[in-house]
């Protein structure tokens, strides 16, 4: 019994060493929420969905950027 207790920290350490790499692997998960945001950004661009609300900004920004160049 006492020998078993003495080995407990070593056992915990060993299990931690074994478990840690597995958890790190699992942690490289697919960032679903970020992917959704990225997809929305690209789809808005491809289908030009954001052009209607921002059409007022676009002409205002375009002339401003031309003289700057």
């Amino acid at each position: 019994m006492q020998r078993w207790i003495r080995q407990l920290p070593a056992a915990l350490g060993l299990s931690a060493i074994l478990v840690l790499p597995a958890c790190v692997t699992i942690n490289v998960y697919f960032p679903a929420a970020d992917a959704e945001k990225a997809a929305d950004k690209i789809i808005d661009e491809v289908w030009q969905l954001k052009n209607k609300p921002s059409s007022q900004d676009a002409p205002a920004q375009a002339p401003a950027s031309v003289p700057a160049k």
């Binding site: 006492q2 207790i5 003495r6 407990l8 920290p9 070593a10 915990l12 350490g13 931690a16 478990v19 840690l20 958890c23 790190v24 942690n27 490289v28 998960y29 697919f30 960032p31 679903a32 970020d34 992917a35 959704e36 945001k37 990225a38 997809a39 929305d40 950004k41 690209i42 789809i43 808005d44 661009e45 491809v46 289908w47 030009q48 969905l49």
Partner: protein, 143 residues
């Protein structure tokens, strides 16, 4: 002996704390979509959309479950134009496949391609206009 157990537990808690924190650090990173390849695909698809939009609206072309597009009802297209619709669909699907692959590899995880594709498949349908056709779980449906 008690202290060695305490030390073991402490080490265990420390490892546990690291495990709890590391996903937060990873979650903070945004997905990279600003590469030249992705921008090129994006603008290619954007210019093609001018031609495709009419076919989405009249139901000739619909959105598939795997993030691509397909001919849904060729009969609404005059015979002479059908070949060009097929070419548009094929070209669009080439771009879309390349886009999903590119996003996955731009983020250092080529194995994410399928998940990127699934995400896009859902978002395309979500953002589709009313009246467009899409493939749901039980076949074609009109939005």
């Amino acid at each position: 002996m008690k202290t060695s157990i305490k030390n073991g537990l402490f080490a265990f808690y420390l490892v546990f704390a690291v495990l709890l924190v590391s996903p937060l650090a990873l979650a903070a990173a945004d997905l990279e979509i600003n590469t030249p390849a992705i921008s090129a695909l994006q603008s290619s698809m954007q210019s093609r959309h001018g031609q495709l939009a009419a076919y989405y609206s009249n139901g000739a072309v619909g959105l598939t479950r795997d993030g691509l597009i397909a001919v849904h009802d060729a009969t609404v297209v005059p015979l002479a134009q059908r070949q060009s619709v097929n070419s548009l669909v094929a070209a669009e699907n080439n771009d879309r496949n390349a886009l999903y692959k590119e996003i996955a590899s731009a983020n250092g995880h080529p194995e994410w391609e399928a998940e990127v594709r699934n995400t896009f498949a859902q978002r395309w349908v979500q953002k589709a206009q009313g009246g467009w056709w899409y493939q749901g779980a039980s076949g074609w449906a009109k939005k």
